[in-house]
């Protein structure tokens, strides 16, 4: 196949495929998503989206114990969701190789925190491999399956956004190892984690940990590069590339295995250099562990590295006193350009009306998190996937609605509802809670790139074949109204999210009925899925009240006189501005 320019995620998919992976499961999450989207396109491998990461890992465990090599992928916060099966499967071990890709996001480019997934590898005592570019991502993916089988354990493959989303040259073999599924036999003492078995299996895990440490000491993935011995740096992942950029002459211990650490190798390296430093980002994962081995870790000569956020060559240069390249100052006074709801986005009118209601909004994870920013500023809290509905219930228990005279509303997207919102809603129903819950059903998992999900009914295989969620037969979609009714909620409404009056009425009526629980399903497709354009409206006799501008449409601006102007390249003729004008001055065509 020769050389290819592949992202880390593409390289991992290729490596896993060559290693003979037969099943792939995941919940989409930046920066991990493209791994399975690439793997599904390859022959002789089955891939699916799970409703959440816990389910993905459990499906993966079943497939592995059932005898085939399996890849499970997720973003860092997804590992929290999958932590339950992860921690207990540490003691059971696996069947055929099982690799868990955990993709971290230092600097929170697309995440709610920047936790380091390797803490989970250490916590679960499972090996963790850490590639520094796509070539290594491709190779380590294959090695991870070997390690998983050799040591009878889930093997974590860890990457950060810079590895996942950077294309580098990869020498691709292109040949797949054909493997026969392992014969299946029941082994309850290994896989049934009742206390007596769990205690015995923990002893096996202890022995495995010792064996893994011995392996890490000798492993070729841990590499010493001895150069200038006055500076010795322990580093892994993308940071290795940044260290080499900033400090080409430094001696480096590059750890391709980030759990377990090799104590003897670290001590030997420390003895060969004058001062040992650790370069890492957004955590003290290595520093704490190296210090615990009684190896002295020095502070960089010109100051510490940042405690949070992505670390790049510029930070390393600064910490080690290397002059930065000359440059002009950053420009000041520029308008910020955060992401915004697209023109025609079905979330827009719902947040306009929530703002109007002065509701206390418990939000959730997805594009609609943008309801928290101007001009809506309508969302009070966003913590984690599925939290909106359960937090709204907690707010109710605290009496916040009564004391503030503001209704409490939970807002969640369709994919997030399937991920972990259903159980949250069940908790409210079961305990006789009240309040209003909005499910924004835009027919897709928009935030991560319009993936299929259990609500729209598009499988990963169908997504790869470009099936539009709009073409899925109703019977294959999840009927959210029926589901909520089946849970015992009587006040369930289905509302067109593009119909301003209907949105307003539904929210008003539902929040007024404070004695009962109500659910509003706002249904309208994401504009990245439904790209239908209608003619641009015209503006006549405008009174410059500014109401249309406050809906925050990127296609709507103002001229010097304050008169609204519609950008014909961005407008899709959705009619949101026309509906919002209190004087009927924006006229829809046709």
């Amino acid at each position: 196949m020769g050389k290819q320019l592949l992202s880390g995620n593409e390289a991992i998919a290729q490596g896993a495929w060559e290693a003979g992976v037969e099943v792939g499961t995941a919940y989409p999450g930046t920066p991990s998503t493209e791994t399975l989207e690439n793997l599904v396109k390859k022959p002789d491998v089955y891939c699916e989206w799970a409703p959440n990461e816990k389910v993905a890992l459990e499906v993966g465990l079943g497939a592995s114990i059932g005898g085939v090599r399996t890849l499970v992928t997720m973003k860092h916060v997804g590992v929290n969701v999958a932590a339950d099966p992860l921690l207990s499967s540490s003691n059971t071990g696996v069947g055929a190789g099982l690799v868990l890709l955990a993709a971290d996001d230092p600097s929170c480019y697309s995440s709610q925190n920047e936790q380091d997934s390797r803490h989970y590898a250490a916590f679960a005592r499972i090996p963790c491999l850490d590639p520094s570019d796509s070539q290594e991502a491709y190779e380590f993916a294959q090695r991870a399956f070997e390690v998983s089988e050799e040591f009878d354990t889930v093997c974590m493959l860890h990457e950060t956004m810079r590895i996942a989303h950077t294309r580098t040259m990869v020498e691709v073999a292109g040949t797949r190892t054909q493997r026969s599924p392992l014969p299946y036999e029941s082994r309850p003492q290994k896989f049934v984690m009742m206390p007596a078995n769990a205690v015995r299996r923990t002893l096996v895990t202890n022995e495995r940990e010792d064996a893994l440490v011995a392996w890490a000491e000798e492993c070729d993935l841990n590499r010493v590069e001895l150069r200038d011995r006055s500076v010795g740096i322990v580093v892994s992942g993308a940071l290795y590339a940044h260290v080499r950029e900033a400090l080409p002459d430094a001696s480096v211990l590059k750890l391709g295995v980030s759990w377990p650490l090799p104590p003897a190798k670290l001590a030997e390296f420390a003895a060969k250099v004058e001062k040992l430093y650790v370069v890492e980002e957004a955590c003290t994962y290595f520093e704490t562990r190296v210090r615990a081995l009684d190896i002295e870790v020095s502070e960089p000569p010109a100051g510490r590295l940042p405690r949070s956020g992505e670390v790049t060559s510029a930070h390393i240069r600064a910490a080690f006193g290397v002059a930065a390249p000359a440059h002009i100052d950053p420009a000041e006074g520029l308008p910020p350009r955060p992401p915004a709801f697209c023109a025609g986005c079905p979330h827009r009118l719902v947040f306009c009306e929530l703002r109007r209601l002065k509701a206390i909004v418990m939000g959730d994870i997805g594009c609609y998190t943008l309801g928290a920013v101007a001009p809506y500023s309508a969302t009070d809290a966003v913590i984690d996937m599925g939290a909106s509905l359960s937090m709204a219930h907690g707010m109710e228990l605290a009496g916040a609605a009564d004391r503030s005279k503001r209704p409490v509303v939970g807002v969640i997207g369709d994919s997030t509802f399937a991920h972990s919102g259903i159980t949250s809603l069940l908790g409210t129903v079961y305990n006789g809670g009240t309040g209003t819950l909005c499910i924004l059903d835009n027919r897709t998992t928009a935030m991560t790139g319009t993936q299929g999900n259990p609500v729209n009914g598009v499988t990963l295989t169908e997504q790869a074949a470009r099936l539009s969620p709009l073409d899925v037969p109703a019977g294959k979609q999840l009927d959210l109204v029926a589901l909520c009714r089946a849970m015992g909620i009587e006040d369930v409404r289905l509302v067109d999210a593009q119909d301003l009056k209907a949105v307003r009425t539904a929210l008003k009526e539902a929040t007024k009925a404070t004695e009962r629980l109500s659910v509003i399903v706002f249904k309208s497709p994401c504009r990245l899925v439904d790209r239908t354009r209608k003619p641009m409206p015209t503006i006549r006799d405008c009174r410059r009240c500014g109401t249309c501008i406050r809906i925050g449409c990127p296609a709507l601006g103002k001229d010097e006189t304050g008169h609204p102007v519609i950008d014909p390249t961005q407008c899709i003729g959705c009619g949101q501005c026309a509906q919002s004008c209190p004087f009927g001055c924006i006229i829809e065509e046709g």
Partner: protein, 210 residues
């Protein structure tokens, strides 16, 4: 604008092999949906065809929702970091003028900046929370940027969606790859029926700098 996220597959070195005395850094900035990713892939392909090492780093996430986006391409005999730090960009290509200003400190001393001479008003401005810089053009001229009416050039060439390829033409004048290598890369990366229009856009972009 569909995102061109497919891999540059099966790189065959067809162009003349090039050796560089140091790694070159190209920074592409713009607004989500402007086609920066395609432009980055064309550039990366040229480097690969020249037998060079290359790394292309993209900030994904919410790029389709009108936020600031950036792509870094680093090419050299052996490329280490995939990030562009301040003062490190040999070439900055800005698809929008405010984004050009936002990226000005990444430019290396003596580097080249090519700017699409257009401004896209962010929602923060239209809702009255911020203002556009009144003197954006003057400030960009002050730092020696090449202001190119890339959108107008693309429309004049009869291919309004090729603004990004006009800018590829402009940046090609500051990079060591032969014109044929660029043209070959464009032909491989754009839809078949748009090859001719895109090559015309590329040609006009080159001419706009000369």
């Amino acid at each position: 604008m569909p995102h061109d996220t497919s891999a540059v597959a099966d790189v065959n070195v067809t162009g003349e092999r090039i050796q560089l005395d140091r790694t070159l850094t190209i920074l592409l900035v713009g607004v989500g949906g402007q086609g920066t990713i395609l432009a980055g892939n064309i550039c990366a392909m040229c480097a690969a065809e020249a037998g060079l090492d290359v790394k292309v780093s993209e900030i994904h996430g919410m790029s389709q929702r009108g936020g600031s986006v950036s792509t870094v391409i680093r090419v050299g005999n052996k490329v280490e970091s995939m990030v562009c730090d301040p003062g490190c960009a040999d070439v900055v290509v800005a698809f929008e003028a405010v984004e050009a200003l936002r990226a000005q400190h990444f430019l290396r001393e003596g580097g080249s900046m090519f700017v699409n001479d257009e401004q896209i008003v962010p929602v923060s401005v239209s809702i009255g929370n911020a203002t556009m810089p009144a003197d954006a053009r003057e400030r960009l001229e002050g730092i020696g940027a090449h202001l190119i009416p890339a959108g107008q050039i693309a429309r004049d060439a009869g291919s309004p969606r090729s603004t990004n390829v006009v800018l590829v033409g402009a940046m090609s004048t500051a990079l060591p790859f032969a014109r044929e290598v660029w043209e070959d890369a464009i032909a491989k990366r754009v839809p078949a029926k748009t090859i001719e229009a895109n090559l015309e856009a590329f040609s006009r972009g080159r001419a706009a700098v000369a």
